[in-house]
Symmetry: C2
Subunit: 204 residues, 2 copies
Amino acid sequence: MPSDNARGYAKGRARRREILLAALRAFAEQGFRATSMREIAEMVGLSQAGLLHHFSSKEELLEEVLRLRDEEQTAFNERLGEGRGLDAIRYLLDLVDLNARQVGLVRLYTVLAGESVSPGHPARQYFLDRYATVRERVAQRLRSARDEGELRADADLDGASAVIMAVMDGLQIQWLLDPETVDMPQVFREFLETYLRGLAPDDR
Amino acid sequence: MPSDNARGYAKGRARRREILLAALRAFAEQGFRATSMREIAEMVGLSQAGLLHHFSSKEELLEEVLRLRDEEQTAFNERLGEGRGLDAIRYLLDLVDLNARQVGLVRLYTVLAGESVSPGHPARQYFLDRYATVRERVAQRLRSARDEGELRADADLDGASAVIMAVMDGLQIQWLLDPETVDMPQVFREFLETYLRGLAPDDR
């Protein structure tokens, strides 16, 4: 049987997760700045002091919410190593399909990324680092495809990587606003094929 | 000489504009939801009652701020009719160049567009309408280019229009976060050439 300690620990962990999910929902619905600790405490039936026992500040909650979001994508990041050349880029199609089934997480990401461009926002560094990391990861795949002769030798692949991320982010905004009109997975799929065709060497 | 009335009117207009510019700055820096009327009043040295004399609510201020932003782009919208076929699309290069010189307005747009995807946001309808309008405008130009044989007959041009807007929005986020790394006008220029090449008929 688990000891009292272990049971207390499990209970504390469950409580933390409940708080994190409430914070995630609140940040996704109103953004970080407009959400108060009082509101989050109310969502989980805690006093503000009770909430502070688990998380010392709204900034700490934000950090943990972003970490939680990253974990959800881990499975996809692990598949990044698979495939050669252009096949290694096409995992992004699966990622966009996944996103289309996770409207809450996509909304969180869109609201926070938009907020983060304002000076002094606590998620600014997170997004700065995240874009740099993912751009480099996608650019590496593009370079490997170029080395196999699938992309033209003189293409700006760092720029292309920024473009591919931009399409993902920008389509999320349009899809969240108007999912009936913008079929995000389908539009992204056609974009990727068209764009890679545009990047292909002339003789192919 | 202007009458007292005319002078009072001009003064009221100048005051309104001053308030609008303060609201624009506040919304761009912290978003709509996290900005209070009290803060905006303080920025222009008014009491809250004095501010309410000019604008009856934060929602009215938001509406006027968005209208002000749209006016700044009027000159560009008017040029939309110029050029035939693909040339009619390339005015977007000038628009992105202009945006790169208007960091405040671009930040406003990015923060508010991000916020607007959350349920019940007062700018939601504005962005919904705006995306629909601009997508259709760009799609029309693409269809005219297709009719002249510059784009493949079977391309999904509504989707392509959504993609072009997505790249503009997504690059703004990356550029606002990291202007040293992401040369927005240059990356957009290369994107547009590459993408249009990908959309071209096979025999060209």
